[in-house]
Symmetry: D3
Subunit: 185 residues, 6 copies
C-alpha cells in the first residue's frame, strides 16, 4: 500500500463504534478514532507529572497508533478475546499493523510495536492510559445516564496504576465518581 | 445463561453496524440484525420456486440464527478472516453459538450447526442467500449513491448459484443492475 | 413487481426506526427489521419447549414476514391505530402485503396471511412473541437507562401468555425485571 | 391534555425522520420538525413578493402546525395514503390535531384547520410551499449525492404554482437544477 | 445570493445538532431546525392567552428566523458567548442574517431584526419562548433518562417570565417537573 | 478545573460533528475527535521522511491538542471566521485552551501554544497536516459518493506544502485523485 492508501484505510476508524459500548446499550457511542484520541489526551494531561520523567511526546505517539489495526479488523470486544484461540487476536493485529503502518524502520510501526510489547515505561504508561480512558468514558456516560456500566465500574476498581502516581490518583477519582453515580440509579 | 439472558445479549445485533459497509464509507449502514432478517427474506421470497422442493421454513430458520454469534463477537470483516489464524474465527463462533443458542438438543443450536456445516441442501441454499443479500444491499446503496461498492459488485459477478435456479436468476439480475449503476458514476 | 423489486423495497425495513420508541424518547432505537428478527429469535428460543409441539420453523417464518408491509406504509404507532377508522390499518397492510409478498400461492404470502388471521396455534404463538419482544426490548432499554418506559412495562404486566407455558414464564421474568428497574429510577 | 403535555408530545417531531427519504435511501434524513420549519422558511422568503399581498405571518403560522399530527401518528408515506381507505388518513389527522392543538377557539387549531381545508389564499400558498420544500430538500440531497431522487424530481416538474409568481419561479429553478444534477449521475 | 441559494444554505439547520446538548451528553440531540420549530410551537400554544393580546402570527414568524444565522455560523454554545470578545457573536449573527435573510425591506430580515433588538412585546415574548423551549426539551430528555441536566434545570428556575402570565405558568410547571425528575436519579 | 474535570469536558470532542461537512451535506460526518486523531496519523505517517529531520513525536503531540478548545466552543466553520470580528475566534480559543489544558508550564498547554503560534518547523508541519487531512477526508467522502466537495477539492489545489517534500507529494496525489473523482460525478 502507498502512504495515501494507508491513510484512506485508516479513515475507517472515524465510523467504527466501540463494540463494548454498543453491547452495554450506549446509543451512538464513541468511535475507535475518538477513543484513540482520548487515550492520547489522558496521556498528555498526566505524563508531565510523572517522576522520574517520561518522554511525554512519545507516550502520545504510542497512544495514537495503538488501535490502528482495527481499521482493518473492526473492534473485537472482550468476548472475542475470550473466545478466540490463544494468541489469535494478537497475530491478526500484528499483520494488520504491518499493512497499515509500514515496515519496521518507520516510526509509526516502531511506536505500535513498542506499545504492543509493553516493555518500556512509556509503553506501560500508555497502556494504563488506555484502561483509564475506558473508565473516564464510562463516567461520562454514567453522568449522562447512558448504558449499563457496572462491569466497567468494577474494571476501574480492579485496575493497578501504582507505577505512575498521577494515574493512580485519576483512577481513584474515577472509581469513586463511578460508584457514586451508579449507586444513585 | 437463562433464556432471558440469552435474548438480552442477542439484542446487541440491533445496534451492531456491518463493518464492511463502514469500511466502504456507507453512512449509518444496516445492522447485523437487519442483515439477518434480509437474508431470511431473500430465502422465503425464492425458496418456494426451487426444484426439487426445499423445506422453506427450515431455510428461514437457518438464516435467522446464522450470525447470532456476532452479538458476542462483533462483526469481523473480511480482513479479519484473512488475518486471523486459520480456523480461529470459526472456533470463536462455535463457542459463542453454544453460549447464545444453547446445547445441541435445542432447535436454535441445531439450525446454527446445520448452517455452519453447510452440508444439507437447505444449508447450502441459506448460505447462497447470505451472499446474495450482500449483493442486494449493495444495489440498494448503489441506487442511493452511497459507498464505494466496486468490490461488492465483483463479488456478485463471481458468485456461483447454479445449484438453485431462482437464486442464479436473482444473481444475474443483481450483477447486471450493479454494473450498470456503478458504470454511471 | 419482480422478486428483485420486492426485495429492494423491503430493504427499507433496515432504516425505519420503530415509532413507539422514538415517541418514548429512546435515541437511535431499533429498526423494524431488527424488531422482526428479534421476534423470530424469541420464537426459536422458546418454541421447542412448548407442549404439545409446535412447528418451530413455521413459527419463525410467520415472525419474519409479519411486519413486511411497513416497508411501504411506515411504522404506524399505537396512536395511529386508535385514531384511524376501524379496520383501515388492517386493510392497508393487506394491500401492502400483496404488493410485497406476492399472490396467495407463494409461501411468503401464506405465512403473512396465517399470522394476520391469528387462528393457528403457530400464529397465536408468533403473535405472543411479537408482544414479548416489545417487553424484552423495553427491558434492554431500561437496563441502559433509555426512554420513558412505564407504559411498556404495564403492557407486559397485562399480557396473557397462558396458552404457551415457556412464554408465560418469560413474560413473568420480564415483568418482574422491568418493574424492578423502573422503580429504581 | 394540558398545554405542557401537548408540548411534550410535540417534541417527538424532533426525532421522527421523514419516511419518504428513508425509502429513497437517504441516510439520516431530515426530521418532520426540520421539514415543518423548512416549509415556513420557504414561505417567509417568498410571501412578501406575492401580489396582491398575503398575510405573510399567517402563512408562516399555517406552515408550522401543518404536520403537527405526525407527533402522534408518525409520518405516513405516499404509499400509506394510496393503500389506506379513502379519507382514513385525513380523519386520523383531524383527531390528532384536536388532541395536540386544542379546541376550535385556539389559534393553533384554527391555523391547522385553515391549512387542512386549503380554501384561503394563505392556505393555498402554504400548501404550495410544502410541496416546494420537498423539491428543495431533494435538490439539497442531490447536490450531496444522496438518495434515489428521480420520483421527487418528476414531482417538481409536475407541480402547478401558477397562482403565486415567486413560487412558480422557484419551482422552475428547482426543476432545472434537479434535472441537471440527476442527469449527471 | 438568490432566494434559492439562501434556502439551500438554510437546509444546514436540519443537520446541525444543538451543541449544548452534545456537551451535556445527550445522544443524537435535536437539530437547530427542530429547536426553531419548537420555539414557534411554544409561542403559538400560549400567545393567544396573553393579555393584552399579542400579534400571535408575528410572534411565530419571529421564532422561526431567530436562529437562521446558525446555518452559516454553526451553533455556538454558552461557553463561546462567554469566551468571545464582547459583541463579537452578535456582530457575526448580524452579518449572517443579511446574507441569509436579505436586505432590510424583506419581511424575513425585519422579523430577525425585531427579535434581535428585543424591544417590542412580541419580540420579548418570542425570546422568552426560546428560553422556555430549552426547559421543555430538557424535561423531555429528563423523562427519557438522557443527559446531565442540572444546569438546564437551574436555568429554568432562574428565568423571569412575569410579563406574560401563560409563560410564567408554563415555567413554573417545567421547573417543578424538572426538579422532581432530576431528584429521582 | 481539576485534571478529571478537564478530561470529562474534552469528551465532548467525541460527539461534535465537524460543521463544514454538515454544511456540505455529508451525513453523519467525522467528529472533531476523529479529525484530531486523523491529523496526528497523517503526521506520523509522513514526518519521518522529512529532511532535515523533525521531532516526529512532538509533531504528533501538537496535532492531538490543536482543536481541544472546540470542546468548549463548538466547531466554528469557515463562515464564522469570516463573519466574526478580526481576532475574536483566536482570542476565544486562547481562553478555552487555558481552561482545558492548564497553565503555561504544562506540556499540553505548551504544545497548543506552539501550534497556535506556528513558528517552529514542527508547528508549521502540523498545520500543513491539518489542511491535508481535510483533503484526505474529502477524498474518502468523494469515493463514497457523499457531500458537495468542490470547494474542498479547490482548497487542496491551492495549498502550498513546498516546505515539506512528503507532504507536497501527498498533496499532489490528493489533488489529482479528488479532481478525477469529482469530474466523474
Amino acid at each position: 500500500m502507498t502512504t495515501l492508501d494507508r491513510l484512506l484505510t485508516l479513515l475507517a476508524l472515524d465510523s467504527l463504534p466501540r463494540t463494548g459500548w454498543l453491547q452495554a446499550g450506549v446509543p451512538a457511542p464513541e468511535s475507535v478514532a475518538a477513543h484513540s484520541l482520548g487515550v492520547a489526551l489522558v496521556a498528555i494531561a498526566t505524563a508531565d507529572r510523572v517522576a522520574p520523567p517520561l518522554d511525554v511526546d512519545r507516550c502520545v505517539a504510542l497512544c495514537i497508533v495503538h488501535d490502528a489495526p482495527e481499521a482493518l479488523l473492526g473492534d473485537m470486544p472482550r468476548a472475542a478475546s475470550r473466545l478466540l484461540p490463544e494468541g489469535a487476536k494478537r497475530a491478526a493485529e500484528k499483520g494488520a499493523a504491518v499493512e497499515l503502518l509500514g515496515s519496521a524502520e518507520r516510526v509509526a510501526a516502531q511506536r505500535w510495536a513498542e506499545y504492543a510489547q509493553g516493555v518500556t515505561r512509556e509503553a506501560r504508561f500508555a497502556r494504563a492510559c488506555d484502561k483509564l480512558h475506558l473508565g473516564l468514558r464510562a463516567l461520562g456516560y454514567a453522568r449522562a445516564g447512558l448504558g449499563e456500566l457496572t462491569d466497567f465500574s468494577r474494571g476501574v476498581d480492579e485496575l493497578d496504576c501504582g507505577e505512575f502516581e498521577p494515574l493512580e490518583q485519576l483512577r481513584a477519582e474515577l472509581s469513586a465518581a463511578l460508584r457514586e453515580r451508579l449507586d444513585r440509579r
